[in-house]
Every structure is written in C-alpha cells, then in structure tokens.
Amino acid sequence: MKTRLLALGDVPPRLAEAVLAGLPRPYTGGEVGRLEIALGRCYDRTRAQVDAACLIEQIPEPGPGWLLLGLTGVDLFMPALTYVFGISHLGGRRGIVSWFRLHPEETGPSAQTILIRRITTEVVHELGHSLGLVHCVVPECAMHRSLWPEGVDLKHPEYCPACLETLTSSL
C-alpha cells in the first residue's frame, strides 16, 4: 500500500514533505503530489467556508493499493457542523486535512514545529478513517477525536497497539 499526500491548490513549499516525513508505519515510503482543485465549486458564501464533503469528491478515486490524502489551508465545514479539521471516506482510502484551525497561537520557530506535528497527527487520523478505523478511547492514540487544536497536541502521530492491530489485520 502506498500513500500520496496531495497539495490541494496553494500549499507552502516543503509543508507536505515535512508531514510525509513524520508519518509512521504503514504510511512510510509515500510520496507528495499536487492536485488543482475548483475551490469555488465548494465555497459557501454565507459561511465563508469550504464544504468538506464537496471538496473530497474532487480527489479522484485511488487506484488499487493507493491511499490519497489532500492537504489544504482552507476552513472546512460539514453542513451540520460549524467546522471540521478533516474528513474522509470511511474505508474509502481518500481523505482531506485542513490546517486552517490547527495554527498554534504562539509565533516563532516553535510554532511551525507544533503546526507540522498537529497536521501530521490529523493526517494519521484521517488516513486511519480512510482505512476503516473509527475513533479510539486511548487519549494518546491518533484515532482519538480532537475537538480543539490544543487537543491534537495531547495525541501522538501514531496509533495505539489496539488500533494498529485492527489496521494491520485488515490490510
């Protein structure tokens, strides 16, 4: 199985690479790509946000053995919810993660490190969903649900043994 991180539109240089480098097994050895998207089609004027369910449909169906995960800096929402950090097709090997709400409120060099770690953790989270994992009660596990950016810092960008086992036995 191979992972491809897709920069959706404008993504700062090296951001996708930094995230890719921090991915644990079974996502190591992946690659970075780029995808032009029609943001306007998914943009909601009244909410000034982008519909995540619409955006994910712009990511093509992955070929056999591939996982596709889009990275974006736009503010994502789902129709019933005020915002989401990311979304995926449960078991569908496609997902997206936005760093719009993951920015730490600090500035300086440590802010970038925190941001990359948060994005990486949420990428591991959505990749887990895209392979069929659901939320996990272990607080450090990447599959634990985070509702706040600071909450993402409480997790590790990897799975607890139970989630890892579910994942590997399903692969």
Binding site: M78, A80, T82, V134, C136, V138, R145, L147, E150, L154
Partner: protein
C-alpha cells in the same frame, strides 16, 4: 465485539443527513438515516434505534409529531431535536414533551459530540466499559498481566477508588507505571467517556507550568499572542493527571488548591471565571510527607490531593514478576523489529532476575529493546545486557562507580536529562557537567 449504539438521523435535507451520519460513524456508532418522519418510524420499528436526531422542521410529519409517535413505539429511545436558530421555541416545547435535549444548527463539533456521548452512555455503560478495558489492557499489558500479588493489590485499590470522584495520589519510583495506573483510574471511573489529560509538572518552569495548566489570554505575557486553553480546561468532565506533583512550586500549589475548592479558574491574564469539573489524579516519586515537614510542600494542598493513596512497589520488591515481564517485552520488541528471537538463555534470565532495576519496569523495557537490537542469534544472551558484564569489582574508583551509575540512570530514563537529574537528585547543569566529564553522549 460489543453492540454499538444505534443512531438514526432524521432530516429532509440530504446534506445534513449524510454529514451527520459520517460524523457519527467515525465515532463508532451504528448509523442510519431517514428523510421523513414516515421512513423514521419504519426504521425505528425495524432496527431498535437507541438515539434519534430529529430535525424539527420537516414537510409532512414534523419533528414534534414524530417525537410523539416514537415515544409510543419505542419508549426507551432517546430523542435529540435539531433546530435552526429561528425555531428554538418549538424545541423547548419538544423538551417539555420528553425530548432529551435540543441542539441548534450548525452544531459545534464539541457540543454535539458531548451531547451524543452523554445520551449513548445510557445504552452502553457495560459494553463500552468492557471495550475500554480491553483497549487499556491491550495498550499496556505488562503492568496488569504480570499476575503478581503486589500488582493484584494495586489493582484492588484502583477498583476501589475509581468509581468514586475522590482525588488520588499515586506514589512510587520512576518507571513503576504511575501514569498507567492513573489511566486505569480514569478508565474505570464514570468519567471514562470524558478526556484524560496529562501534564508533567516536573519538566516545566513555573511561568510555563502556570500557563500550561490554567491557559492564558491574549497578551497575558510577552509571547502570549493568542488565547490558549489550559490543561485543566481541557480535562473538563474528565480526569486531570498531574505527574511529578512534588515539583510544583508553592505559588502554583495555591492556584491549584483554589481551583479544587471553587471548581472554577481564571486564565493567566484573564478575569472571566471559567467553571471546571474534573477529577484530579496526581503522582510523585518524592516523599511528600517529608517535603511537607521540610516546608517545601504546602500541607493544605497535600491534604487535598492525598485523599486516597496508591503506592506502587519498585520492581526489585517483586523480582518474581521479572521473567513474565521480560518475555512480554521480548515478544513486543521482536515483533516491532521483525526479528525471530525465541527467548532468553538461562544466564540471561538469571542476570535479569538478579539485577536491582533502579529504573523499574521502564528500565527493563529499555534493556530488552536494546538486547533485541544487539541480538544476532535466536535467543538473548547475558552479554546483551549492559549490567551483566563482569561483576562490578570492589576495586573500582569512586569516579568509575559514579560514571556507571549515571549511565545506568540515563539509560533507564531514555536519556531524558531532566528526568535523570531528578532521579539522581542533582540539578541539570551538574548532570550535564558530569556527562561531559565522563564523555557520555546522548544517542
């Protein structure tokens, strides 16, 4: 597997239905959708739905009418009304008729997550508890599965205190598994569906610790660019675990004491009192009673946190557990590193049992991990352990003994200098100087 809670989302707007279904499926619930009241009733009859999220405004049968019909058909089902801002009054009417709660669209993820979690608790207490327990055990079996009488006693204390809301103090040397026990107290408590938030108080300077725990408002100090929620706030409705509580400076002890008494806090640089509801579990490797006697720890704070104490025995006092633990770690690391190692030579096992393990279970795990890396054959030999070389001779110089001890403690602390310094009871600078003197480098 346990039976998942069954949720039915009833909304005439397909977008809303589907996005909520996705959201709840990710939580591990079993989710169906219905586009109308009529479809919803059919689904309830067919599936035995536990929780319904019902849009109050639908063409045909509206939410209120559906609620009445569901209550006749399935009196045990929980109904949550979804409403737009404009129809809140109708939602209140629904509450009077027995709806569990209502929620205004679009929902805050935090609010909807908590609401449904609370509703789900009514159906899945036993089932979820078992799943949670399996996971915690799976995550860290070494402590629990060792089958030793000393650990059985610890588990007994955990079972006794967990369901109460009492503050718990866990004492024991570094590496004995204090965080894991804190975890278990949370997992076996009524707060298990809430967050478990950890802060290591020993690792941070006073100012940083304060802002980490209490959060801060924009501009509270130089560098505080934005608002930041503290760990106490994040532990709301859950458990806050403060490790190395013995290292908390007196000023922060006072602030924590106030939060424990008043159940509210103010962020650093803020005026707003924020209500907090959490259970406090603390841990320390220090002798807090001695610290109190020496005036370094406040007695009123100690009194508050030490309502129930769980002492963890050091590994050397339960040497009988070493073989089982060693085999467990061997299997774990061999799997992780994809190595085929069948076991330990009798000499290797004898060395493990004889060693005093100053760094406890954590040091044992580190030693086995290192041995698996070094091992080229199909079993671990005594010479794969750093401590099993020629026995320490009485002729060693004091410096050599010191160097060996420092190396050992550093290894036990995974080369975390701050932690090793604490363990050695010297300050960090001294430890750095000694490391330089003996040419000890961090890996």
């Amino acid at each position: 597997m346990t039976m998942p809670v069954r949720i039915l989302v009833v909304d005439d707007e397909q977008h809303i239905r589907n996005s909520l279904a996705t959201w709840f499926r990710e939580e591990g619930y079993d989710v169906s959708v219905a586009a109308s009241g009529k479809d919803a009733l059919a689904a309830v009859a067919r599936e035995g739905t536990n929780i319904l999220l019902v849009d109050i405004k639908m063409p045909g049968m509206d939410g209120l009418e559906l609620q009445r019909r569901v209550r006749e058909l399935a009196p045990d089902a929980t109904i949550i009304i979804m409403t737009a801002y404009a129809s809140v009054e109708t939602a209140v009417e629904a509450l009077k008729e027995g709806a569990y709660d209502y929620i205004v669209k679009p929902f805050d993820p935090e609010a909807v997550s908590r609401l449904v979690r609370k509703a789900a608790e009514r159906y899945s207490l036993l089932a979820e508890n078992r799943a949670l327990r399996e996971r915690i055990v799976g995550a860290s079996p070494a402590l629990i599965t060792s089958g030793s009488p000393a650990m059985a006693k610890v588990m007994e204390l955990v079972d006794q205190v967990a369901p109460t809301d009492t503050n718990v103090l866990i004492t024991g040397e570094s590496g004995t598994g204090k965080e894991l026990v804190a975890h278990l107290v949370h997992a076996k408590s009524t707060r298990r569906f809430g967050p478990f938030v950890v802060e290591n108080c020993g690792a941070l300077a006073e100012g940083v610790l304060e802002s980490e725990l209490f959060g801060h408002e924009r501009g509270a100090f130089t560098g505080a660019v934005g608002r930041h929620r503290g760990k106490i706030e994040m532990a709301n409705e859950g458990t806050l675990f403060l490790d190395e509580i013995g290292d908390v400076p007196p000023k922060v002890q006072v602030d924590l004491l106030r939060v424990l008494q008043e159940h509210e806090l103010k962020r650093v640089g803020g005026n707003e009192a924020i209500k907090v509801d959490f259970r406090l579990v603390t841990a320390t490797h220090r002798d807090l009673e001695a610290e109190v006697a020496a005036g370094r720890f406040r007695d009123d704070f100690y009194f508050r946190i030490n309502v129930f104490q769980i002492p963890l025995p050091p590994l050397r006092e339960r040497a009988g557990d070493v073989p089982a633990l060693a085999k467990h770690f061997l299997q774990q690391f061999a799997n992780q590193m994809n190595r085929r190692i069948s076991g330990f030579s009798p000499d290797a096992m004898a060395a493990l049992v004889a060693y005093p393990w100053p760094g406890n279970v954590r040091e044992l795990a580190n030693a086995i991990e290192r041995a698996v890396v070094l091992c080229r054959g199909d079993r671990i030999e005594a010479n794969h352990f750093p401590f099993a070389g020629p026995p320490a001779s009485a002729n060693l110089s004091l410096a050599a003994v010191e160097e060996a001890h420092i190396r050992q403690i550093l290894a036990a602390c995974s080369h975390n200098v701050a932690q090793a310094a604490r363990e050695l009871d010297i300050d960090r600078v001294t430890l750095y100087n000694k490391m330089k003197k003996y040419g000890i480098e961090r890996p």
